[in-house]
Symmetry: C2
Subunit: 373 residues, 2 copies
């Protein structure tokens, strides 16, 4: 694949580190005007009247000189930057990174790049970054877990629960389906007394997911008992992006669950981190997972599969969500109107070792006494 000689790039001016080839140079080399070269290269409708032979000459010259258009000049004139802005709370966090990966795969195919900014959940930073991105003429925004107060002023797509708002299309997981998957898996195993971790009050997904749970529970004839429901962050745990904090919280809440009432055979946690923490608390208390308690998480983070036992969890198709967001945004930029305000993406249930039938066969038995220490 390497070229001949010491230069393996296409030979000629392009390979050199020096100046780039401009449209004018291509035109001059052909004895044509830049205008002609431009319309031909861009397959503009105006080029219809230009004979095939000239087309060929133009492309050939461009190739030979290694011409690459200067996107900045193009953007200035055509008012299109072929780039979009992506706002995330923090890029190194698994959720954002997964979604970004999906966004990227789609955009690149269409010649778009994206600029990212992490706002650390600070609303004023978020707004400032949106301004900076507008200066750079981004054509639209993708807001990952980034609630805004005001319409962005550009076509936008929000990933993860967001208030309805002008200009923004929401992409969210199908929470009803997620809850149905998890709960019918547990119900199918014979579980009847299920404990829940509800999300943090400010998390975008909390409300919708909880509604999904209530709905699915009702459909399945399961009872959601207040005494088996704990709300993460309810005791003013410092909000932090450290996953370890979430793990500790899950651990503490798992223990609390045992103390309040040992009478449950399964836990459906709000996310994997808290599920893993709780699972650890159960194991520490001498319970076996899944023989004594089953645990279901949410997200399918990287660590989930490596637990012992592996964590059964509802996988959020983060990549898919990113792809969808990118696709919708580009369609809107291309002028395709009439998109729904809300697009949902379907989650999957990943069954691993942390779930099994409740103790005492498929029919629940009081097992409070089973708790040993």
């Amino acid at each position: 694949m390497s070229g001949s000689g010491r230069n393996s790039r296409p030979n000629g001016p392009a390979g050199r580190a020096g100046k780039r080839v401009t449209l004018r140079q291509v035109a001059d080399s052909l004895g044509l005007s830049p205008a002609t070269v431009s319309v031909v290269l861009n397959r503009s409708p105006v080029a219809a009247s230009i004979p095939q032979e000239t087309h060929d000459r133009v492309f050939e010259a461009a190739r030979k000189l290694g011409y690459r258009p200067n996107m900045v000049a193009r953007s200035l004139r055509s008012r299109r930057s072929f780039s979009i802005g992506v706002l995330v709370p923090e890029i190194s966090e698994g959720y954002a990174a997964g979604v970004l990966s999906g966004i990227e795969s789609h955009l690149r195919d269409e010649g778009y790049f994206y600029l990212v900014a992490s706002h650390r959940t600070q609303a004023d930073l978020l707004e400032e970054y949106m301004q900076l991105l507008k200066e750079r003429l981004v054509e639209g925004f993708i807001l990952v877990n980034s609630p805004i107060r005001e319409s962005p002023g550009l076509p936008s797509v929000a990933v993860a629960g967001h208030e309805p708002m002008a200009d923004v299309t929401n992409v969210a997981i199908d929470h009803d389906r997620a809850a149905r998957l998890a709960l019918s898996h547990l119900a199918g195993l014979g579980h009847e007394r299920i404990a829940f971790f509800k999300g943090h009050a400010h998390s975008a997904d909390t409300a919708d997911r909880w509604q999904g749970i209530l709905k699915a529970a009702a459909e399945l004839g399961l009872e959601v008992r207040p005494e088996l429901t704990l709300e993460l962050g309810s005791d003013a745990v410092e909000e932090t992006f450290s996953p370890e904090a979430g793990y500790e919280e899950g651990h503490a809440f798992g223990r609390r669950l045992l103390e309040l009432s040992g009478d449950f055979s399964a836990l459906f946690a709000f996310n994997d981190v808290s599920a893993i923490g709780a699972m650890r608390a159960f194991l520490d208390a001498g319970l076996r997972v899944p023989e004594d308690v089953s645990v279901v998480g949410f997200d399918d983070i990287q660590g989930a599969a490596f637990q012992n036992p592996g964590l059964t969890t509802v996988r959020q198709p983060l990549r898919k969500m990113g792809e969808t967001a990118g696709k919708i945004l580009l369609e809107r930029l291309a002028g395709e109107d009439g998109h729904a305000d809300l697009v949902t993406v379907v989650p999957d249930l990943i069954v691993r070792g942390s779930t099994g039938p409740p103790p005492g066969g498929s029919k629940r038995r009081r097992r409070k006494g089973a708790r040993r220490r």
Copy 2:
């Protein structure tokens, strides 16, 4: 903080979704020329001869009109894009995401944004992306775990082992120190027979880290035994970015280690994923960690802390490496020459529950018989 009325953005034209305010409009509103406004706003040395009063008027007008420069126009003229290109194998992978987070924090302060491209370890894609980024006038590159064959033609910084090359400064972890940290921790606990997982042959860090291990072992008087050294990927495991594959591999290699020779009291793995897999294999075989075997990982991925026991590991300061890379690149762009070709970043040892004294006290005892199954 919100403004009055229904518009909480600065009032006036800027708040409206419509046209942006241009430099010319600011100039006209003041009866000055765009040139003057430009030099004042940019604090150009030329503006020295312009009286304070005019400065004030200009700034005031710009503020009132909500003027925001068009970065694209600026880039075209000044040949500076205030953006850099970042190449990563895959953005959702923990390593890249961590480094990106560090890069970002530094760049933003200096008014830079970055464009990312994931090349999935395909050299031709990588080169194509570098071209695309050059079209967008990026001023330099940061190559995260992205070896290139040819000088990039722009100032660049590479994170993670990279051949020396023109234009590129390398930022790497101090492998010697990393190995010394891990091994002296184990030696300090009394371990003498230590098993190793060596990295995949093509991984950028493999060679350097192994050299560090050999060096540290020699310093500490530890013997590195070939029969206790396994090389990851040596049996043509399909290269994949799935961490689960790495985990499986660690699990298989952990078992193999036990089969080949149970005679070791500690394992220093190439990364956390394989360490976790091996740890699981040891536990499955009825060994206790750390009572029977100690395990040390490398990286400190998110899941490391959630294991049972928590994994002792060498933390790669990914954020710091990203920050350093960003800082060096910006300095080079600002014309500060004379950077070393190689800048190292110091790792930390995170001690958790997976390491302890070898069985039988601080003096090693043969414990082959201790293996039960």
